[in-house]
Amino acid sequence: MSKVHVTTRVNGDPVEFLCTPEQTLVDVLRDTLDRTGTKEGCSTGDCGACSVLLNGRLVCACLVLAVESEGAEVTTIEGIATEEGLHPIQEKFLEHAALQCGICTPGFIVATKALLDKHPEPDEETIRYWLAGNLCRCTGYDKIIRAVQDAATTLAHEA
């Protein structure tokens, strides 16, 4: 099958790749571009481990075709920390022990970024519904929710 040439940006860097038309974005990120920080737990849009931002919008990279990233800006977990260091969301996940195994963590952090970009002061219910597409089997969510609440407070103070 002939491959398609795609030009996109990943975490600000210009990137070009060849993919088959049916290849998903998560496959290309992980296997072609070696950005393995984005995880794959189900490939059917049910676990959120593959959460990335496509032009700032939260998507499951397993449900996006790689060709759809043509001309877009893709933000992955590898693009969340800044030159100054960890993003406050990342710091709060660490401080609150909001990860046990850590496989869901990249997805949760990207999804939290999308949430706080849109709702800087979410209440608990909003957080729980926003993150309902991200499965965590280890933590029972308690510490994740607290980390997100704390990150929201910190970011609000910084702003």
């Binding site: 920080g37 737990g41 676990c47 481990a49 022990a97 195994c101 499965l135």
Partner: protein, 752 residues
Amino acid sequence: MAEATEFKAIGTRPVRPDGVDKVTGRAQFGADLNLPNMLYGKVLRSPHAHARIRRIDLDAARAMPGVHAVVSGADFPGAQHGEIGGEGGGDVADVAKNVMARDKVLYHGHPLAAVAATSQAIAEAALAAIEVEYEVLTPVLDLEAAMAPDAVLVNENCFTKNLPEPAEKPSNIASVMTLARGNVDEGFELADVIVEGEYRIPMAHQGYIEPHACTATVNESGQATVWTCTQGHFALRTQTANILDMSVADLKFIASEIGGGFGGKTVVYLEPVAVMLSTQARRPVKMVMSREEVFRASGPAAGSCAKIRVGAKKDGTITAATAWLAYEAGAFEGAPMGPGAMCVFAPYDLENFRVEGFDVLVNKPKVAAYRAPGAPQSMHAMESALDDLARELNMDPIDLRLKNAVAEGSQAAYGPKFPAIGFRECLEAAKAHPNYQKPVPEGAGRGVAAGFWFNAGMESSAEVHINEDGTVQIIEGSPDIGGSRASMALMAAETLGVPYEKIRVLVGDTEASGFNNVTGGSRTTFATGMAVIQACEDIIAQCKDRAAKTWGVDADQVEWEDGQAIPAPGVNAELKPLTLAEIMKTAARTGGPILGRAALNARGPGAGFSVNFGDLKVDRETGKVDVLSFTAIQDAGKAIHPAYVEGQMQGGAVQGLGWALNEEYIFDGNGVLENPGFLDYRIPVASDMPMIDTQIIEVPNPSHPFGVRGVGETPIVAPLAVAANAVRDAIGRRVHDLPLSPPNVLAAIEEG
């Protein structure tokens, strides 16, 4: 020792050593390794739950361009019977057949061939080109059918073990057991009240978010390296060596970071296949299960049927109890009947009881350990029965349990006398808890239940190296599944008296670390922690020796305090303390590098008890159950890193609630799993759950230097009955079977 000690590092909540890599995407999990020249391996799985394989034709697949290896059962050595090694254990020959079927396929999804090709698409096409001829057999799909005298046999060579007389004909009952004390008939005669019930729980899955994945590469001399996500790379190495009839020395296993396991990643599925494919192809082979494969063909928790009968006097004293426990093992023997039977009455001091257990074959995937394997199923039944009993006696459910609770010195139902344990402390804490004092919200019900798990010890090894600047490197071999590097570093910091920040922890591969049994049985912080502590004590002894040499005194004239060697009282007071860094500066002259080590089989893991309660609301129109609040109280012995202890309690609570409320394997009449994905096998999501309140009780384990008890498994046990008892309270009727899904609860409401 533990009671009086004031700790400096232990009990604090520092950021875990591997944390930054896990929040930035750097940490490498099972599927994250790609090697040059790598092939993709895929498995052909049975479309039937029970069938004889008449013929497999691999030629067309082999001939396809891009296909470099094709294997089926005939390519694997005929594995001998024997203990496979690892948690749950099992028989080598069984696990070998589970990894790759030989003459029969025993469940839908059972592997029977595998290919390695240059792309996933080619691998899939090659699978499609394999021709198989089956003789389809009737599947055995539930406990009743399997245990019936004229049942179709899953395995024609299975004769029931542990019968008083050797079995004469084959059966689906692989083994039986009994556990008894006193005289139950007399006990029931003394009872004022007797309750009984029959409880069924379908198979459920651990639901780790990371699918099984591995990459194997075998060189021309037969040396294999396997990168895999596992709870125990040493155990998987042993299993692979046994199945492939290889020398352990030819297998190097590297544990990647692991994305959850809960018991399900203690046994091989892909690894021996990847090694076989790589041997044939002479190229690296990567294999990753799809989510559907994980559900269909890894090891779920056993389905069960439990019949319980409990009698008590008016004051709540239990006079007799019986339990009949049957577990679905799946296609091969090895359901957790033993631990289930040993746990069912463990929290209670009973004079008369009898437990019967049955390990039953059915044409479903071979079960694996799932967090306190066997206990949630049996204790759900007992804790539900106790709730009924408390109602009959008009007693507070906590008081009823207090009346019968085991304490230090009680003879456990499963044998030994308990040393110091914290069950009563948990019960009393629950009773006094502000959440328990609050009234039950309108429309909701409250449930209370206890949980128990033995915890495990087993083999661990650790080395501690002091770097030339006095910083510390720990090398151990227990995969870190939930923050164990942090607990190792904290225990080393406490023992050595050096700051946590100066300590690094490596989970070494099978060539870099001494043997460590699996991260399972809630053993890692206890047993591997003990090895780390002993290795640090070894370091201290050596450092004292080095200081003595430096000072020209005897080693017994040196003491160790706050991370430095100091002269003992009365010894020349002019001597200035020597820090680790200072000792290392002159180490070349005093004897060379400093390396401490310990290898042990840890004894006395210290039983873990919990008491949980929660308020659950039932929608009477739809049968949907919502968790309004949940409180988990558990004895941790000593919480090394309290945040990760709470995390175990919260995570276990939510897993248990998921199992109670929603999760179940649904099979059609042909034994095909109908919900092999997270959409239909619905695990709890953030919006389903409230915050989970925790209270850690600390009754030190006398067998551990810091008093540690395992904490990982007990948390999943009580929530099943908490949910069942709360629903009973809310709707006024007991729903005996799980899950308490809307249709089941609605049916109960409508009947009532």
